[in-house]
Amino acid sequence: MSPKRVVLVTGVAGYWGARVAARLAADETVHVVGLDAQQPASGRNGLDFILADVRNPLLAELLKVEQVDTVCHLAFTHSTWRSESAFESNVMGTAKLLDACGEAGVRKVVLKSSTAVYGAFATNSSFLTEDHPLRGSRRYGYTRDLVEIETFCNGFSRRVPDMVLTTLRFSSIVGPEADTPMTRFLRTPSAPGLMGFDPMMQVIHEDDVVSALVHAVEKDVPGAFNLAAGDTLPLSKIRGLAGKLPLSVFHLCANWGVTLLSSARLDVERYLPIEPDYLRFSWVGDLARMSHVLGFTPRYSAVETLREFAAHLRMGRYRMGPTSLAEDVEHMHKVIERRRHSSGAAPAAEGGDDE
């Protein structure tokens, strides 16, 4: 029997890392090593877990010792308003991880990104191919970080041409468990659109995201890929299927709101999880490479995905407590970050509102 292929999954304490690691662990030929800066909330479940940050300078040593073949990088802090610590861990973390992979001779790296990196512009073609320039918005933390990461990757893959670097650009991810900008948007009570704008949009089911990541780990396909369900829907249909009323705001007001909230250092993404421009212009990815080069077909159509999500939303009215683990983890992350930064202040005095 040949030795097992070692796959390192970063961010296993997070939702995506946990799911991908669990799926890969089911494969007999693969040995999964999980890495995260925090303990998995749901326990280790027999996972070969290492408590470490991806920015750890000794990471290359670890990769060599473990003889890691493939790294699936899923550690991504979904930052609120342009958080510096999130930028540090997302962008610098990825850069350091890739450097360590190059040094340790890791054969393949799989990254999770978003079609939001193309940016939403009036001049966008109706279907953007993977070689479209990355003009993603720099107003929101997560798109800014993703654009930075992808730009770094472009340079990196030129420097280390032998490495198989696969970037999966997912469209808006929707699902009952996942916590993404689109689910946050659809979870807000009204989820308003912009008056007189109804761009075409893509969504993808959370299960298909996990399947695609596993597919990319198992199959060697270098390059960037757009991933989405086959059907492209107008935003009004997405909102309708999710059971929202046709409420809309004037786009200038929405833009002013973002500027105002951000200058007041308030959490803009809580009120407007998707940047107004992304609800105004189209940023639909072309899926030809997904089906022909990557050879991946999503199991759920966009309409099915949204119907399932709407059913979950309706059920949510009758349930108590946190609706998803991801929200819980995110809440904990915020608590930890706040406590870490409140130097000098007595933690016990704050303890009350953290619970």
Partner: protein, 364 residues
């Protein structure tokens, strides 16, 4: 209709009444205490009087007939019932449609074409096509009934792209295949509220070489206006003089896909607004591509956007084939500009031919 039913009319009526009477009795037998809600004789009464209403006597004198029917109708409860049923039905139908659409249960294609929305705006466009501009078309048989083709036309319109809408209506109503034209629009449209959502729902898309090529590869009928803003913003003095044809993106689309180019000349559109001058400084400050001053705009406010009811002629020319070039011709600027110039000259010539034949701007 044959004579026979009329001869047997009375006989058949009696038969029917007897049959109904029989059924009523059967019903009463089933429910001894129940009263019949109608009697067949009563129902037959309007049938008896109906032939009289359409007699020659009743038809004489439109005014009297109108007065009579008005008098009768206002007093007739059944008429009001009918009106009520109709209104009720319409309201119910519309409410169901609205509810269904609000729940997101409607279909669009990948480009955003929403057939229900198209059906909704079509009567409005049809009015402009038939009654307002009285569009006359020639050479519609040059447009293929199926498969890819690229329509290239002269542009005008100042405020609203009437020419694009009318070319679309010409092929949607008067072409035997009734095809939908995918018009490629300028990048200013997606920035304007409501215009943005309307053009997407009508299946139109932004003018990029990528979009045009993709649509033609899907065997669609694509229309482009290579003059762009330079064409829309023409002053009255420059009417029917073709502006520069951009960078020839349409020639690239045709070379990429081998689609035939069909030159189209639109006459009448360039006189719908009489633009005296443009305000380049103000348009630069506001970021609007051009700001026209016409005979009516901005003096009459929004009323100034109403077009003049000119008489239109849309001529579809013979297809220009672009096959037989080397495969990389789309990236050869010299080849692209050659084709662009050839099409431009053809359209200019078609415009001159039509203008020479035209007697009046407003009348046939």
């Amino acid at each position: 209709m044959s004579e026979e039913p009329i001869e047997n009319y009375e006989e058949r009526r009696q038969e029917l009444i007897a049959e109904l009477e029989d059924l009523t009795q059967q019903l009463q037998a089933l429910t001894p205490n129940g009263k019949p809600s109608f009697s067949p004789q009563e129902k037959a009464a309007p049938v008896e009087t109906a032939p009289g209403e359409s007699s020659e006597q009743a038809q004489s004198g439109a005014l009297r007939r109108l007065r009579d029917t008005l008098g009768q109708s206002v007093l007739n409860l059944d008429v009001w019932k009918g009106v009520w049923y109709m209104l009720n039905y319409t309201a119910q139908y519309d409410a169901a449609l609205a509810r269904r659409r609000l729940r997101g249960e409607f279909e669009t294609d990948a480009w955003g074409l929403d057939q229900e929305y198209l059906d909704f705006v079509r009567p409005f466009l049809y009015f402009f096509y038939r009654s307002y501009f009285r569009v006359e078309t020639t050479g519609l048989d040059n447009v293929p009934a199926a498969g890819r083709a690229l329509l290239v036309a002269n542009h005008s319109g100042q405020f609203l792209p009437w020419d694009g809408m009318m070319i679309g209506m010409a092929i949607l109503t008067d072409h035997p295949a009734q095809r939908l034209v995918r018009t490629l629009y300028a990048a200013v449209l997606p920035r304007i509220p409501y215009a943005s959502s309307a053009v997407t729902r009508l299946g139109q898309t932004l003018a990029t070489v990528d979009n045009g090529t993709r649509l033609l590869e899907q065997e669609e009928l694509v229309a482009v206006f290579p003059e762009g803003y330079k064409g829309v913003g023409k002053t009255f003095r420059e009417r029917y003089r073709l502006a520069r044809f951009g960078r020839g993106g349409f020639a690239q689309m045709a070379l990429n896909t081998g689609a035939p180019i069909i030159p189209v000349s639109v006459i009448g559109a360039e006189e719908t607004y009489i633009t005296l001058a443009k305000l380049p400084t103000l348009s630069e400050i506001t970021g609007i591509p051009y700001l026209p001053i016409t005979l009516t705009f901005p003096w009459l406010g929004l009323l100034g956007v109403v077009p003049l009811p000119t008489k239109w002629y849309i001529d579809f020319g013979a297809p220009i084939l672009v096959d037989g070039y080397d495969p990389d011709a789309a990236n050869n600027p010299v080849r692209v500009s050659q084709i662009s110039d050839q099409v431009r000259n053809t359209i200019q010539e078609m415009i001159h031919n039509r203008l020479a034949q035209r007697h009046s701007v407003f009348f046939t």
